[in-house]
C-alpha cells in the first residue's frame, strides 16, 4: 500500500520538484525483505527524481538501512524490484549497478592516499592514466582537498574523510548516491556545517541522492522530500513542509518535531475535545459524526491570549492554566492544563457538544506551547495564569491506531 501524500491545506509553498517528465533516476517498487521469519520491510515503494535528494527518516531498527543496502545491491529483496534510470537492476550484483554508497564509517581504504582512493573506481575500470589523473584533479578541487592529496585517510578529519568518500563515488559518475547516516560520527557543530556543504555540493553535481538518518532536523534540511519509515513501512512521503505541517499519522507527527495529541470526537461537524470544541469544516466523508479522532497540533502553533478574541486565522480551543514556564533560549516553553469545565470558547455559529471522553481523563494531559521572544515580551505569563489557547494550524486523524496510514484532510482556520 502506497502512502498517500497529505494535501497541503496551509499557505506553505511546495518547493518546485525537479521536472519529472522523464523517468525517475531511481525507483524502489514494492520491495519487502525478511530475515528468517522476521519481516523487516513491507512493500516499500518510492521514486527519486533526477537531481533530487530524498531522505529516509526513521528510528534505528526501522529498516531504513536495509532499504539502502537493497538499492546498493548489498542485500537482496524478498519481493519487489529496483530500477535505476529505467533499467531493472534487482538481479545485478553491487559492482554492476553503478551506485555510490557513502558509508557511515566512510570506508576509505586505509592503505591508499586520498588521490588513490578517489581514483580507485577508474583504476579498476582500467581507464587511461591521464584520464584518471584529470578526473582526480577535478574532484580534488571540487571537494577542496587539493593540498591533502598525498595524505592517508587516518590523517584527515571526519569531514575531510567524508568529502573523499563522496569524491571517490563521483569519480565513476554514479546513477544515484546513497548516504548511510552521513553525519552520525561527527559532533553537532560539524554536522550542521557539513550538511550545508553536502547540500550545496549535490546541487552542483546534480546527482540524485538518498539519505538515511534518524535526525529529524537533518532530514528537514537535507531533503527535497522526506520518507518517514516506521517498522518497515513508509508512514508518509512528501516535502519537508508537507510532512511537518500535515503529518499523515500520529507517528509522523511525533517523530518529526514535537506534537500535542488530544483525543476527541467529531460531533455535528465539530471537533470536540473534552469540554472544548472547535468548528471544523470537514473535507472528507471518512469523518462521520461520533467518530473518535485525535487532534494534533504543534507547540509553536498555539497562540496564548487573555481573551478568546483571537486574530484571524486562529481557532480558539479552550482556556487553561499555565502550570510551568521554562526558558529554552530562543523561545519559551509553557505547560498548560486545559480546564475541565467552563473553559470552552464561546462559539456563535454552532451549538455546544460534549464528548464521550470524561473530563478527568482529558485533564490528565497538559498541552505544551512555545512562544518566540517578541510574543513573550508582549504578553508576559506566570505560572497559575489563566489563558485562552488558540490554534493556527492543526491536524485531525481518525483514532484507530495504525490501521490507516493514509492522510486525512486537515482543517486550517487560515483558509476558512
Amino acid at each position: 500500500m502506497k502512502a498517500q501524500v497529505a494535501r497541503i491545506m496551509d499557505d506553505s509553498i511546495t518547493p518546485p520538484l525537479p521536472a519529472t517528465v522523464s523517468q525517475p533516476a531511481a525507483s524502489v517498487v514494492g520491495v519487502s525483505k525478511r530475515f528468517g521469519k522476521t519481516s523487516v520491510l513491507e512493500n516499500i515503494s518510492f521514486d527519486v527524481a533526477e537531481g533530487e535528494a530524498l531522505v529516509l527518516l526513521g528510528a534505528s531498527g526501522s529498516g531504513k538501512t536495509t532499504i539502502l543496502r537493497i538499492i546498493a545491491g548489498l542485500e537482496q529483496p524478498y519481493t519487489g524490484k529496483i530500477m535505476l534510470h529505467g533499467r531493472e537492476v534487482t538481479e545485478l550484483p553491487a559492482r554492476e549497478r553503478g551506485v555510490g554508497v557513502i558509508f557511515q564509517s566512510y570506508a576509505l581504504f586505509p592503505k591508499m592516499t586520498v588521490e588513490k582512493n578517489i581514483g580507485y573506481g577508474l583504476r579498476i575500470r582500467r581507464r587511461r592514466r591521464k584520464e584518471i589523473r584529470n578526473t582526480v584533479n577535478e574532484l580534488l578541487s571540487l571537494v577542496q582537498l587539493e593540498e591533502h592529496r598525498k595524505k592517508y585517510p587516518s590523517q584527515l578529519s571526519g569531514g575531510q574523510q567524508q568529502r573523499v568518500a563522496i569524491a571517490r563515488t563521483l569519480a565513476y559518475k554514479p546513477e544515484v548516491l546513497l548516504f548511510d547516516e552521513p553525519f552520525g560520527a561527527l559532533d553537532a557543530q560539524t554536522r550542521v556545517h557539513l550538511r550545508r556543504e553536502i547540500r550545496a555540493l549535490l546541487k552542483k553535481v546534480n546527482v540524485p541522492a538518498i539519505f538515511i538518518t534518524h535526525d529529524q532536523e537533518e532530514a528537514l534540511e537535507l531533503g527535497d522530500r522526506i520518507a518517514v519509515i516506521n517498522v518497515g513501512h513508509i508512514e508518509q512521503i512528501g516535502t519537508p513542509r508537507e510532512v511537518y505541517n500535515n503529518p499523515a499519522t500520529e507517528y509522523v507527527a511525533t517523530f518529526l518535531g514535537a506534537a500535542n495529541i488530544l483525543e476527541g470526537t467529531i460531533t455535528h461537524g465539530h471537533v470536540v475535545v473534552g469540554s472544548a470544541q472547535m468548528p471544523a469544516r470537514l473535507l472528507d466523508d471518512r469523518f462521520h459524526d461520533g467518530q473518535a479522532i485525535k487532534l494534533i497540533f504543534r507547540p509553536e502553533d498555539v497562540l496564548l491570549n487573555k481573551t478568546q478574541e483571537f486574530p484571524v486565522g486562529h481557532v480558539c480551543l479552550s482556556s487553561g492554566v499555565v502550570e510551568e514556564i521554562s526558558f529554552v533560549g530562543a523561545y519559551e516553553r509553557l505547560r498548560i492544563r486545559l480546564e475541565a469545565s467552563g473553559g470552552a470558547c464561546e462559539t456563535t455559529d454552532q451549538p455546544y457538544y460534549l464528548t464521550t471522553e470524561t473530563p478527568e481523563r482529558q485533564n490528565a494531559k497538559p498541552v505544551i506551547a512555545t512562544r518566540p521572544k517578541p510574543e513573550t515580551n508582549a504578553f508576559r505569563l506566570h505560572a497559575g495564569d489563566r489563558v485562552f489557547l488558540g490554534l493556527s494550524s492543526f491536524t485531525i486523524l481518525p483514532n484507530d491506531a495504525r490501521t490507516s496510514a493514509t492522510s486525512h484532510p486537515i482543517i486550517t482556520p487560515s483558509k476558512q
Binding site: 546498493a72 545491491g73 548489498l74 550484483p93 553491487a94 559492482r95 554492476e96 549497478r97 553503478g98 551506485v99 555510490g100 554508497v101 558509508f103 557511515q104 564509517s105 570506508a107 581504504f109 586505509p110 592503505k111 591508499m112 580507485y120 573506481g121 583504476r123 579498476i124 575500470r125 592517508y152 585517510p153 587516518s154 590523517q155 571517490r168 563515488t169 565513476y172
Partner: protein, 251 residues
C-alpha cells in the same frame, strides 16, 4: 629468575663459542656439512613457510567470511598441531609416508620415496608450523570492517580486485609476522625432523640435527658454532617481528 633460566644459558653459547678464538669458530662454521645443514634448514623452512602462509591466508579468508556447517570444527583442526608433540607429528608422518606406511607402501613400488628426503623435512615443517600463520592472519580478517569490501564492491570491483587492492594491503603486517613466526619455528624444528629425515649428514641433516649429531660425537665446538648462528638468527627474527608490526601497519 630470568638470569639463570634464560640469559645465562644463551650467554654460555657465545662465551664458549668464542673462547678458542674467532678463527676456530669460523672454520667450524665453514665445514661443508655445517654449511649444508644451515642451507638445508633455510630452504626447507622457506618452502614450508610459503605453503603455510598461502594456506593460512586462504583458510583465514574462508573461515572468517563464510559461515558453514563444521566451521568451528575446522578451526580447531587447523589449530591442533600446536598441541601435538613434535615427535608424535614426525612419527605420524612416518606411519603415513614411510616405506611400510599407509600411503608409502603404494608409492614405494613406483620408486617414490617421501621419507628420509628434504621433502620429508618440508612436510614435517608444514605439519608442525601449520597453525602459526593462520593464527596471526585470522584475527585481522575478523576485525577488518566489512564495509571496506562492500565499498569496493559498490565502486565496481570484482571480488578478486577487492581482495588484491583492499583486503591484502590491510593484511600486510599480519602476513609478514605470520611468515616470520613460521620460518623461525621451522628453522628450529628438531623433534619431527629427526624422525622423518633420517639425519644423513650432507643429505638430510638440518642445522638443529647437526648440533645434536656433533654433540654426540663430542665435537662441542662444531655444534656450538651452528648453535650461535641459530641463536643470532632467532634474535634477528624476533627484533624484526618486534619492530616490523609498527611500520608495516602504518596507515
Amino acid at each position: 629468575m630470568m638470569m639463570p633460566l634464560v640469559f645465562l644459558p644463551l650467554a654460555s653459547i657465545f662465551i664458549f663459542g668464542t673462547s678458542s678464538g674467532l678463527g676456530n669458530f669460523w672454520s667450524a662454521l665453514m665445514a661443508p656439512e655445517a654449511v649444508f645443514a644451515l642451507k638445508l634448514s633455510m630452504v626447507t623452512s622457506f618452502w614450508a613457510t610459503t605453503f603455510n602462509v598461502l594456506f593460512g591466508l586462504f583458510a583465514a579468508y574462508v573461515l572468517s567470511r563464510y559461515n558453514f556447517l563444521g566451521r568451528n570444527a575446522l578451526i580447531v583442526t587447523i589449530s591442533l598441531p600446536t598441541a601435538i608433540p613434535t615427535a608424535v607429528a614426525g612419527f605420524a608422518l612416518l606411519l603415513l609416508w614411510g616405506p611400510y606406511g599407509t600411503l608409502g607402501r603404494f608409492l614405494r613400488p613406483q620408486g617414490i620415496q617421501v621419507m628420509f628426503t628434504a621433502g620429508a623435512i618440508v612436510l614435517a615443517n608444514i605439519f608442525v608450523t601449520f597453525p602459526l600463520a593462520f593464527g596471526v592472519i585470522k584475527p585481522v580478517f575478523d576485525t577488518m570492517s566489512r564495509s571496506l569490501e562492500e565499498a569496493s564492491a559498490t565502486i565496481g570491483a570484482t571480488r578478486w580486485q577487492t581482495f588484491w587492492h583492499v583486503t591484502l594491503p590491510s593484511l600486510r603486517g599480519a602476513i609478514v609476522s605470520g611468515a616470520l613466526l613460521t620460518f623461525a619455528r621451522a628453522v628450529g624444528e628438531f623433534g619431527s625432523t629427526i624422525l622423518v629425515s633420517g639425519n644423513l649428514a650432507g643429505r638430510t641433516q638440518t642445522a638443529p640435527l647437526y648440533i645434536f649429531a656433533k654433540f654426540n660425537e663430542g665435537q662441542i665446538e662444531a655444534a656450538n658454532a651452528i648453535a650461535i648462528v641459530l641463536a643470532l638468527f632467532s634474535f634477528l627474527i624476533f627484533s624484526v617481528l618486534f619492530f616490523a608490526r609498527d611500520w608495516l601497519d602504518v596507515d
